[in-house]
């Protein structure tokens, strides 16, 4: 898995924003990661604890919000969520169409941080 590379990026971006905002310490980091991503949250926190030693982000808690898989129907434009378990067999609940576009579920960004 690629949690290490991801954690490196998270730390870099967080430190950049913390410094610009004159932070003494980073307390929490809010991440938004789509349900389609296979990233393991505990693993990221573990790497983060290790990599952030001796930085102002040491000890920060990662708060990971998984954004749901949401499709929009190409025919009736209805939007609907699909659980990862149901991705083999689903249709638009409004019109029954099986043509749709993925509009959420691949997110991968840092939402916010709290600093002191």
């Amino acid at each position: 898995m690629h949690e290490l590379a991801v954690t490196e990026s998270i730390l870099k971006i967080v430190l950049k924003h913390a410094q610009t905002n004159g932070a003494a310490k980073v307390l929490t980091i809010g991440l938004t990661i789509g349900e389609l991503s296979e990233l393991v949250g505990d693993c990221i926190q573990h790497y983060f604890d290790y990599m952030s030693k001796d930085t102002i982000a040491e000890g920060a808690i990662l708060d990971i919000e998984r954004s749901p898989i949401i499709f929009q129907c190409n025919d009736c434009k209805n939007t609907f969520p699909v659980s990862l378990r149901d991705t083999k067999d689903f249709a638009c609940p409004a019109c029954g169409s099986i043509k749709f576009a993925l509009i959420s579920g691949r997110e991968f960004y840092i939402k916010d941080i709290t600093i002191s």
Partner: protein
């Protein structure tokens, strides 16, 4: 106690990688090179498909290959034997290739004398799906023995690819694999994807694959020349 402040960031975690990938696409456009990122499970047939592609297309296009598979030169040797340049990335235990590794490989290549670069990504259906390599199109191979349930297990990979090559169709008669079920599962995740059935062993369907690739190269080189 000091004030606690909430700072909105909304920054892509892999933004550095994405920026570098865009830079790579600029470099490729300047050199009128089309780059394809090929992904699959270990043993899915990436190198076989690349060898077949070279045999069918090297008369028309100057091809180069970036070999990313873990720490061996076996695959690169097979490609070089076909008479095209290959750069072997030593990736150790890495699970994916990212834009910085591809940039290193491209720096070793003579882009002015190439039309097509194929990335033989690391055998893995999970991690490579998350990293933009700077390629123009993403292709994946699913081989028949792996089963028609793979879109359920690796939805991200199926959702980011432009084309799915179903390889080893010569196994269809002995495998518990339903092509129609597979297609339905794949189209649900990605209605735009093109599905091409091939056998690298018998050569069946390879022409359809090279025709797809040729059309993509032509479209790309045409728009790059504008």
């Amino acid at each position: 106690m000091a004030d606690i402040r909430l700072i909105e960031i909304k920054e892509e975690i892999l933004s550095d990688n994405k920026d570098l990938a865009d830079e790579i696409r600029d470099t490729l456009r300047m050199n009128t090179v089309f780059m394809l990122n090929l992904m699959a499970s270990p043993g899915g047939g990436k190198t076989s498909l690349i060898v077949n592609t070279i045999r069918n297309m090297k008369g028309a296009y100057r091809i180069g290959v970036i070999e990313g598979d873990i720490d061996s030169v076996v695959d690169a040797e097979k490609v070089v034997k076909e008479g095209v340049p290959a750069v072997q990335l030593k990736t150790g235990g890495f699970c994916h290739l990212d834009a910085s590794m591809i940039k290193m490989a491209l720096d070793e290549m003579d882009l002015k004398n190439l039309d097509l670069v194929i990335i033989d990504n690391i055998g893995n259906l999970v991690c490579p799906a998350e990293f933009d390599t700077g390629s123009h199109k993403n292709a994946m191979i699913l081989s028949v023995p792996e089963g028609d349930d793979k879109p359920l297990k690796y939805p991200m990979m199926f959702s980011i690819c432009d084309v799915l090559v179903v390889n080893k169709i010569d196994y269809l008669s002995i495998a518990d694999f339903d092509m129609e079920v597979l297609k339905e599962r794949v189209y649900r995740l990605n209605p735009e994807i093109k599905i091409i059935e091939v056998s690298c062993k018998t050569g069946e369907g390879i022409e359809k694959w090279t025709r797809w690739l040729t059309d993509e190269i032509k479209t790309h080189l045409h728009s790059a020349a504008l």
